[in-house]
């Protein structure tokens, strides 16, 4: 009596419509191979291209799965029955990980999303599955984090090492008056958890550096750049390119903002736009130049919007487009960005293959140009009492001068200094000062280059003067 092979319905057409085929004894592997040899069309359905049996072809000897026996080496003797049994599999989308389900409370909370065709339950579950990292919990990070948490982004990571300062509250709406002096991440986490307890907040109370950036960014799907300085901005860009992650970029200054999505896999990166950082001091920070408090609200919201579109794969993102917003004129302009074929980072022949020293790249942290160039506020107060020939040169803007000033100081804004050097007495010792001590160093360089030999710069600016010497001077 030969071996009987049971053929499942789907395969019967390939063996002449029969439900069984008789064959001689042998291993299961030999029997299947014989079957495929005799019925050529059967082969493709039983075997994969590499010759291995398809995963969803199950073979039974009598009532036992050959996986529990000796697999294809299992011997079938005369009188045995070999059954080919399909298991049938399939499914909606080839996603690496399954999407989390929405609870009833979440369905209610996100109902305005769920009824949007572009979001729907599937999209909302993608949002829930998403992991977004915000670098900076400040002006841009505040609105971005609030909207992303409200939208139900499952995991929000926050990197910031700062404490809340009273001057932050004019625009950094994550933080409130009661938490001044506390770490920003502490108040941010509390605010986001209150806004949406379904969101998981992961905090990184560190300065993002070349040493830790890849480690921190690696576990996130999208990175939102809310940094306020060039070294960190290049660091975020480079880490995102090296890890293949989209970088949702925003920056603000005074009344103007920029936004884009840098995703080297699909378009240019930040280095394609700005291959080199500006010289230190050329572009003032918001602390030096000011910023209208609403502006980061607009740009940070654009960053939240682009992040959600990336998660949903919906609409046209800002990949390859730079948005310039002028709040005073109320004008949005759009520039097309091209991938730079010579980009040292994302071009075909990259020279930057790992994270570098970004402080050095941006010309910051180099040794001071002049030894002993700075004077502390306390020393300046003492020198003023003892030295009548000392001149204090305030290089801030007129409006800052209107807020507060050091008694006896003379105002020449930094931008006017090169043309007004003749107003200064070269025989006197000069101490330059500004708000925090950065512009005054630039002024010192200008003066020394022009031949003034006795110049120093007030360390920490009028801010240090207000805290160390004269509390009647308001800080700003």
């Amino acid at each position: 009596m030969p071996v009987t092979v049971h053929i499942p319905t789907p395969l019967r057409p390939y063996v002449g419509g029969r439900d069984t085929v008789a064959t001689s004894a042998g291993t299961v592997g030999e029997i299947l191979e014989r079957l495929a040899a005799e019925h050529a069309q059967l082969r493709a359905h039983l075997y994969r291209d590499d010759g291995r049996l398809r995963t969803f072809v199950n073979v039974y000897l009598n009532a036992r799965d050959i996986r529990d026996l000796e697999r294809q080496a299992t011997r079938a003797a005369d009188g045995d029955e070999v059954s080919i049994v399909p298991s049938i599999a399939g499914g909606a989308v080839a996603v690496a990980t399954a999407l989390p389900e929405l609870t009833h409370a979440e369905i209610l909370r996100y109902s305005r999303h769920l009824i949007l065709p572009e979001v729907g339950p599937g999209g909302q579950r993608r949002i829930k599955a998403a992991r977004v990292l915000l670098v900076g919990a400040g002006g841009l990070g505040s609105p971005a984090a609030l909207y992303l948490a409200a939208a139900g982004v499952g995991t929000i990571g926050l990197v910031d090492f700062d404490a809340v300062d009273a001057t932050n509250l004019q625009r950094q709406i994550l933080h409130g008056t009661g938490v001044v002096g506390r770490p920003k991440l502490e108040s941010a986490e509390a605010r986001l958890q209150d806004l949406n307890p379904h969101v998981r907040v992961e905090t990184f109370p560190v300065r993002l550096t070349s040493e830790n950036a890849l480690e921190i960014l690696r576990d996130f799907d999208v990175v939102v750049d809310g940094t306020d300085n060039f070294p960190t901005r290049y660091l975020v860009n480079d880490a995102c390119v090296l890890l293949g992650k989209p970088n949702v970029y925003g920056s603000i200054f005074r009344f103007e903002g920029q936004a884009s999505v840098f995703h080297a896999a699909a378009g240019p990166c930040y280095r394609c736009l700005y291959p080199e950082p500006p010289p230190p001091g050329l572009v003032p920070s918001c602390a030096e130049g000011g910023v209208l408090g609403v502006l980061p609200g607009i740009i940070g919201s654009i960053q939240a919007l682009e992040t959600l579109k990336l998660i949903l794969a919906a609409g046209d993102t800002l990949v390859g487009r730079l948005i310039l917003f002028d709040a005073l004129k109320f004008r949005f302009r759009e520039l097309a960005l091209r991938k730079d074929p010579d980009c040292p980072l994302c071009g075909p022949n990259p020279s930057v293959r790992e994270l570098i020293d970004y402080e050095a790249f941006c010309g910051i942290g180099a040794a001071p140009a002049y030894d002993g160039a700075e004077i502390t506020a306390t020393d300046l107060a003492r020198d003023l009492r003892e030295n009548q020939d000392l001149e204090i040169l305030d290089v801030r803007e007129t409006r800052e001068w209107e807020i507060c000033r050091i008694p006896g100081a003379r105002l020449i804004p930094l931008g006017q200094l090169p043309e007004r050097l003749s107003e200064l007495d070269g025989h006197k010792e000069i101490v330059t000062h500004c708000h925090k001590g950065i512009r005054s160093m630039r002024a010192l360089e200008i003066l020394r280059a022009a031949g003034f030999s006795r110049v120093r710069s007030l360390k920490g600016g009028i801010d240090a003067w207000a805290t160390e010497v004269d509390p009647s001077v308001p800080r700003y």
């Binding site: 789907p10 019967r12 199950n58 298991s87 049938i88 499914g91 399954a98 339950p121 579950r125």
Partner: protein, 145 residues
């Protein structure tokens, strides 16, 4: 080639797939296959999705070999054969996915129901080409046999 199905049978399938949402629901179709390839579905057999319990159940379904053997036995007793399978695509269109193609069986109708908001929005029927190069769509005829 078409696939004919009675309105009552289709209604049962819709109820099953809607109830399974947001996981994928699945089952087998018992009926007859004519010499010209036309298929008539006589009844549906809901099968527990063997992947419903794990995280993949929301985008995957699996009908195990034991279930298939049971279904074939049941079909044989009614002088029918397993003519196809049905499953749902929660929140995505009723088109075969790459995964469907990879694991598909030939001469087997794949009825896919797209489910959104807890109801079946659309059904379409597909069958794997003999050379496994892809699916061809079958016409779905809703009519009493």
């Amino acid at each position: 080639m078409n696939m004919r199905i009675a309105p009552g049978v289709l209604a049962e399938i819709r109820r099953h797939l809607a109830a399974a949402y947001p996981t994928e629901g699945c089952g087998l179709l018992l009926g007859t296959r004519g010499p010209n390839g036309d298929v008539v579905v006589h009844r549906q057999l809901p099968i527990p999705n063997r992947r419903a319990a794990d995280a993949g159940g929301r985008t995957r379904y699996l009908i195990g070999p034991e279930d298939f053997l049971t279904a074939e036995r049941e079909a044989r007793q009614a002088s029918l054969v397993v003519v196809g399978t049905y499953h749902s695509h929660p929140d995505v269109p009723a088109r075969p996915s790459a995964y469907d193609t990879e694991y598909a069986w030939p001469r087997c109708c794949y009825l896919i129901g797209s489910v959104a908001g807890g109801a079946v929005r659309e059904e379409r029927v597909w069958e794997l080409r003999d050379d496994r190069s892809g699916f061809v769509e079958r016409e779905l005829e809703v009519k009493e046999s």
